[in-house]
Structure formats: structure tokens, C-alpha cells
């Protein structure tokens, strides 16, 4: 790395002469990139390690087939829920699958309820698949749906799924095999973007899911430092779920439950793996405005959970050192601090630097991020992707991706400030206000 920096410095020196400003900038330049690079390296090595293990993997055992309950939280998805239910019935998993679609606010979401009630499982075509719909007449939010489903679930393994997410037919087999290890309390599933062809915003999110979620989770999962079990697709051991009291109210119940499980890492040899082969296909926002609003919620919730709710949980004694450090770096620093650094750098840079310098530094930074993106993308295509043909179509978006990430980082500042100053999580659309109001204040 140093040689690259030195080389760049030489080139820059040749361009700008021995101006102190450019040298100062170059000293500043690697500052946050250098912090990110080791993490990217760790992820990359993790992916390689996963690939090596993968090559010698024994196919999923057909002997370990516990009963699985799928809680599908539904709201206003309407007939789309049927695709989800159908994809669950189609699972090739040889064990028993109990599908529990929970309709939140069933009295207003009649269409969704009717679609679910009209759905029939053909016992001849799909043996060992049962469907037990729950209608929650009063709206109570996603947490109440999950807990209601958990109360009725009888399977050893509980899958928390979204009504707008459908699944590959080997999803359950792939995800369940991890639970054969008694030290696995939960498994994170892999999400792909279903509506990637709807708009440019959806397409670039497809790439983001591929690189930032899929690749980084494989890497982090290898070192047992997974950052989050997605709300749209996670698997849990039911015994553990009921023991920790199910999902907790407030927003971002997925990160919340991940952090709560992680706080046992210090005392137990728990392991939360990521299963890239257990694939769910979900819908993402298709307009830029919708996208920004979604991130406002997601990134704001990070601040709420890390800084407000789980401040005391973030200790090496509870989480164990590796996960504590990783959460500190990837969760707190990258997500909450880095955006401020980047924005400050941008602002200061624009004030202090001449335009040509800005252009040079921008090209330089862009090149670095582009190289990282391209490497990750190619690695994903060659090592990970199960649909390489489809993912190859995202190649034209790779040059755009660093810019997209910069926008996200800048928006992250707004998100964090919105939560820090305005308590944005209390405006969440994930639960009605009368529920959020009663939740404990942090």
C-alpha cells in the first residue's frame, strides 16, 4: 500500500511541484481509506476461505431434518404474498415445514388476507407442508407479527421472513444444516434484489446487495463477526428465541435481536453463520426518494441501537473481543463516524484546494474505490454468485458504484443527525405510533 501511496505522491509531486497543500492532502487521503482496506482485506480472505471450505463441503445432510416454522410477516403486499407462500411450499427440504403467514392490520389489509386465505396447499404435491395463517386485526407492527407467529410456531427452527420476499427451493435445506451444530443460535440468509429490472436505482441496489451485503457477510461470517441478520430473512433456534423473550419492540428489530444474541458471545461459543446459498429475493425501493427514505430509517436506526439502546451491550466482556472490535469498526466507525469524516473532508477540500487538485484527488480516490469494487465484483462473479449470467449484467454499473456509495455516505450524515437530534426512530413506519410511544425510551 505504502508503495502505491509513494508512487501516487511522486506522480502528484511531479504534477503540482512541491506544494505543501498537495502533500498535506496526500497525507490526509489514505487516512480513512487505509482504515477501510484492512476490513476489505479481511472480507476478501474470508470469501476465499469460504470458497476453499465450499469445495470440500459435504452436501446438506438429509438426516438432520428438524421441523421448521416460517413466520411470514405480511402487511399490504396483497397477492404478492402468494408468490412467497408458493416458493415456501416448493422447498425441496425433506422435513416438515410449517408456514405461518401473519397479516398485520388484517382489518385494513383485506386484499392480503384474502390472498392468503385463498391459498391452498396441495397435500399430494407438497407433502409435509402446512399453512396456518394468523390474522392480526389490529395493526401492531412487525415485531408484534413476529412474536405472534413465534407464539404459534411449533418447529425447532423458526424462519423470520418478509411477505415481499420469495425463496429459492433449496433455501430451507441450506439454512437448516447449520443448526446441526448446537452452538449455532441463528443463521443469516442471503438476499438478492428481485425487482432489479424496475429502475436504475433498483439495479444499483442489486449490485449493493451483491457486494456490500452478500460478499461482506460471507467474509464477516467466516470470522464469526456477522453484523446483522436481515429482517427479511433470518433463521433462529426457537428455544433460544423464546428464552430471550422473542423480538423486542422499537424499530430495527433485526439488528436488535442480532446484538442481543451477540451479547452471549462472551459466555458461550456461539456462532452466527451466513449462508450465501440460502437465497431470498426481495423487493427494493425503485425511486431515489423511496431509497433515501429507507436509508434514513436504516442508518438512523444504527445510531439508535448502537448509541442509545445497546450502549451497555457493546462490551468485550459480553460480545467477546473479536466481535466487539469488528462491531466497533464496521458498525460504529464505518457507519456512524466515517460519513462525518468524508463529508468534512469534502467540505474542507472544496474550500482549501484549487479545482485541479480537487479533480486529481477525486480521480485518485475514485480509482481506489473502483479498484476495490471491481475486485469484489469479480470475486463475487467468479467465486460466489450462483447466477453469474444474471449478475454479469450488473457490470456496467460497477463504475457508478463508488459514486453511489459516496452519496450513501453523505446521506448517512443526515440519517445520523436525524436520529441524534430528532429521535427519528420514533417516526418509523414499521410500527404504529401508539405502539412506538409506549416502548421504553432510550
Amino acid at each position: 500500500m505504502e508503495t502505491i501511496v509513494q508512487a501516487a505522491s511522486q506522480i502528484a509531486g511531479e504534477i503540482f511541484g512541491n506544494g505543501g497543500l498537495s502533500e498535506w492532502l496526500l497525507r490526509l487521503f489514505p487516512f480513512f481509506i487505509l482504515l477501510e482496506l484492512p476490513v476489505y482485506l479481511l472480507i476478501f480472505v474470508g470469501v476465499l476461505r469460504w470458497k476453499l471450505r465450499e469445495r470440500h463441503r459435504i452436501p446438506p445432510s438429509r438426516l438432520y431434518t428438524p421441523k421448521v416454522s416460517c413466520i411470514v410477516t405480511c402487511y399490504s403486499e396483497g397477492a404478492e404474498t402468494v408468490i412467497t407462500l408458493k416458493s415456501l411450499c416448493e422447498q425441496l427440504y425433506p422435513g416438515v415445514l410449517e408456514i405461518i403467514p401473519v397479516v398485520d392490520g388484517a382489518s385494513i389489509n383485506r386484499e392480503t388476507l384474502a390472498a392468503i386465505e385463498g391459498f391452498r396447499v396441495d397435500p399430494h404435491l407438497h407433502p409435509r407442508r402446512t399453512i396456518r395463517p394468523l390474522a392480526k386485526w389490529q395493526r401492531g407492527g412487525r415485531v408484534s407479527s413476529l412474536n405472534a407467529g413465534l407464539h404459534h410456531a411449533t418447529g425447532d427452527i423458526v424462519l423470520a421472513l418478509d411477505g415481499d420476499t420469495s425463496f429459492d427451493n433449496d433455501m430451507v435445506s441450506q439454512i437448516v444444516q447449520h443448526f446441526a451444530d448446537p452452538n449455532v443460535p441463528a443463521v443469516s440468509g442471503n438476499l438478492r434484489v428481485r425487482n432489479r429490472n424496475d429502475s436504475l436505482v433498483a439495479r444499483i441496489q442489486a449490485l449493493e446487495y451483491l457486494l456490500s451485503i452478500q460478499m461482506s457477510k460471507i467474509g464477516l461470517g467466516e470470522w464469526n463477526t456477522i453484523n446483522n441478520i436481515s429482517g427479511a430473512f433470518g433463521a433462529f433456534r426457537r428455544k433460544l428465541l423464546t428464552r430471550i423473550g422473542g423480538w423486542d419492540t422499537h424499530t430495527a428489530e433485526d439488528l436488535d435481536i442480532t446484538l442481543r444474541i451477540k451479547s452471549y458471545y462472551g459466555r458461550h461459543h456461539f456462532r452466527i453463520p451466513f449462508e450465501p446459498r440460502a437465497i431470498g429475493h426481495t423487493d427494493v425501493p425503485t425511486t431515489f426518494r423511496q431509497f433515501l427514505m429507507q436509508r434514513l430509517r436504516w442508518d438512523g436506526d444504527l445510531y439508535f441501537l448502537f448509541v442509545r439502546k445497546h450502549q451497555r451491550n457493546l462490551s468485550p466482556r459480553l460480545m467477546g473481543w473479536p466481535d466487539f472490535l469488528m462491531t466497533l469498526v464496521t458498525g460504529l466507525f464505518f457507519q456512524l463516524v466515517m460519513p462525518f469524516l468524508i463529508v468534512s473532508y469534502l467540505v474542507v477540500g472544496f474550500i482549501l484546494m484549487p479545482l485541479s487538485t480537487i479533480a486529481f484527488v477525486a480521480v485518485l480516490i475514485y480509482s481506489v474505490y473502483f479498484a476495490i469494487t471491481l475486485t469484489l465484483y469479480l470475486a463475487c462473479l467468479l467465486l460466489v454468485s450462483e447466477r453469474p449470467r444474471e449478475d454479469l449484467k450488473l457490470l456496467p454499473l460497477v463504475p457508478l458504484f463508488p459514486v453511489f456509495m459516496l452519496v450513501i455516505r453523505c446521506w448517512g450524515v443526515v440519517c445520523t443527525l436525524n436520529e441524534a437530534l430528532r429521535r427519528g426512530h420514533e417516526e418509523s413506519s414499521m410500527a404504529p405510533w401508539w405502539v412506538i410511544k409506549r416502548g421504553k425510551k432510550f
Binding site: 416458493s87 416448493e90 425441496l92
Partner: protein, 463 residues
Amino acid sequence: MTNSPNIAFLAPHTTDFQIPDGWQRYETVAQLTQANSDVIVIDLPQEGLERAIIELRKSIYPLNLIFSARPANGPLFEQLGDGMLPEATDAVLPLYRLWQQRLHSFNRGQPSTTTEERVLAWLWSRPRSALVPVRAPRQAIPYYYPLVDVLTEDDTINAFSWLQLMQQQGLFAEGELLDRLRQCRECSSTRLNYIDVCPDCQTIDITRQPSLHCFTCGHVAPQESFLKNGTLECPNCLTRLRHIGSDYDRPLENLRCRSCNAFFEEPLVEAHCLDCQHINAPEDLKVREIRRYSLTELGRLKCRQGLTSSLRDDHFDQLNLINNGAFRTLLNWQIQLTHRYKSHATSLMAIKFENLEAAMEQVGEAGGIAAIDTLVSRIREAIRETDRCTRSKENLLWLLLPNTDIEGREALRNRILELAQLLPIAEHSGFRVVVDGYTLPMEMLPQEDAELIMARLSGKLGA
């Protein structure tokens, strides 16, 4: 006519029932069938009651009144018995009288021996009664008509065909439809097993076979051929099929015969008779409607006038009755004559016997019939040889009187009314003879024909 009937009381064990004086007590049905009773009262629990009543009906008491001393219900007793014994035991007497009178007037007092006669006699002797089917779920045909069964002298008769015959003859009217049965063509059993079989080899060993359709290459094959190591892979293009709807779907669900390996979409359905094992095609099954049956107007008329005689032999036949159609033709002809020859006068007269049925019940069938006979013979004396008569209803008589003007018509009307006054039954309330007439061409309206005139007249009479 016996004044006091022999009443038998059947109760095998000690009974709390206070047996009135004059009643004969019997302990078994066998004893009772040796005796000669007119009315039977049974004091037995439901099951015993039903058994006893079947035995009695099959014995020498096919038509007699049989009451239960205990509250009894059930379709069998409702059909074969005459209900609960009235609380005042004296009330049995008028019931018996009525029954006796009606039976006496049945078929001109001839004894009933054939199934037809007995069933008609039963329905005649009990107005408002009907033949009601009773369910017998364990039988091959899950319905039977207990009354037809017990009143049949031999068991060879098929109640269903017999009822159909009676209905075709116009004696029985179809009542409420209670059920519809599908029966085996061979043995008429309704115990059928509807089973789906292979259309090629007719074996029952068929199974549903889900098929998959690979979107990548369009290959369609049974699901088994796609399964490989717990995943789905197209056997044709080797594509991994991961997601329903985007990689593959289930285009059809065919059936496969495990015996001849035939692939088919719709199985053949056969109705296998569980009794005779005959294999029926569902569309070839016999369809039987299960209904209630009651006496028709014609049936009642025949009961009154004798089963062997035809309609023309009734009391009114002495009036040289012609049929309705002929009567109307004649009337139309007369109308045309009066149009052509203005001086030609013709009269039409309608005679209605009001409450004839009720009056006859009051005076007894025989008395009523005698009175009508008298009236008819007097009318015959009053009219001319050239007059024509017809009857459109049982109680509505029509006279066509050629060459009769209004005065002549009125004279005849007065005489008939006088004659009616002389009838012995006229004293009883209800019975009345109403006469109205119509004379051509004076009262004729333009465009009127026989049909309209007769309708207008019967409307005036309230018939």
C-alpha cells in the same frame, strides 16, 4: 253398519292404562289376529309398537283404525298407524263411524283384495293421507313405502314401479320430491362406489404425477426426473432450477396409470355396484325420484264410483254426457247458427253443486250418492231428448238447450231449483244447487265463442 265397534286393546304386560268397559284385551298379535276387532289400541313402546303394527297390517287388519295408547312418533307409525288414542276414549266412536262410512262407499262397497284396491281404500278411508317414503339406510335402496309393502298380498311387487304405474293411470299425484337416487342398472342397488380409473385399461391403480417445465429449454417432464441430490436440475439442459415462477413452473398435473403407464389428464369415472359388482357408466345409472304420493281427483272419483267402472259409468251418465270438447264444438256451432239465422235461439245452462263433498261427509257417502242419483234422474226428466250435457268439474254440470229462449230457460232453472229443494241433503247446511244460464243471441257479446261463454258463466257461479 255396526253401532258399537269391537275395540281391541293390545298390551302384553301389565299396563297403567285404564281399559274402558267393553274393550277386549289381548296380549299377543297372534291372539288378536284370531279375533275380529274393528278398532285396535296398542300399548307398547316404540319398537314393539312398530313391529306389532306391521304384523297387524299384514294380517286381517289392513285398513282398520289402529291407535297408540302411548305417545308415539317415527315415520313408520305415522304412515301405518292412526295416531295417538284420543284422550276421551269416547271420541273413538265418531272416528270409527267416519272411517266405516268412507270405507263403505269405497268401490261401491266391494271388498278390497288386490294391492291397488287396498292402497286406494286406505287413502280413501283416510282423507288427507298420503304415501310417504321412509328411509332405510341399510337397504340397497334406502327408501321404501311401508304402506305399499304391508298392503301387498305378495312380495313380488316392486313398489316403485307400481307407484309409477298408478301415477301414469292418473290415480296418484306426485307430491313433494324428497330425494333422487342413482341406481345400478343391473340390481337397482344404490350402494355404488364412484371410482376414477385409467381410461385405457380401466384399472384403478392411477396416481397423480406432477410435471415441471424448465423455462431455459422448455423441457417438460415428471418431477422425479428433475430431482438430483436434493436440488432440481433440468435433465435436458442441466440448468439448476432454483425458483418457481422464474426458473420453472408446474404446467400440468397429469395422471399416470401404474398398470399400463398411460398418461392422461382426466380419469374415467365408473360407478361400481357394491352389491352385484356391475360396473356402470355414471350416465347409464338409473335415476329414481323419491316422492310422496296422494290421490288425484280422478283417483277419488274412481274410489267413489267403483274401480272397475270407467268414468262414463257414473251417476251423471244417465244424462248422456258428452265430452267437453264435443260440447264446446256444439256450442260454437249453435253460436254460428244464431249469427246466420237471427231468429234462432239457443240456451246454455250451468248447474253447480256447492259443498257437495262436505255434505256427503256429513250424511255419509251412501246417503249423498243416493241423493245425487235422485237429482240426476229428475234433471233427466226435466230436459229434452235433444239437449246435450257435459261436466267440466266433478260438481259442475253444463246443459246445451237448442231452440230454447230465455223464458224456457228460466222455467227449467226454476224446476231444477225446486227439485234441489226436495233433496234430503238440502236440509243440511252447506249444500246448495246454483243454476245460471245464458241465451243466444240476446245475451251474446260480439267475438264471444264457447270457451269464453263457459268461462264467463263458471266465473259468475264462482266455480
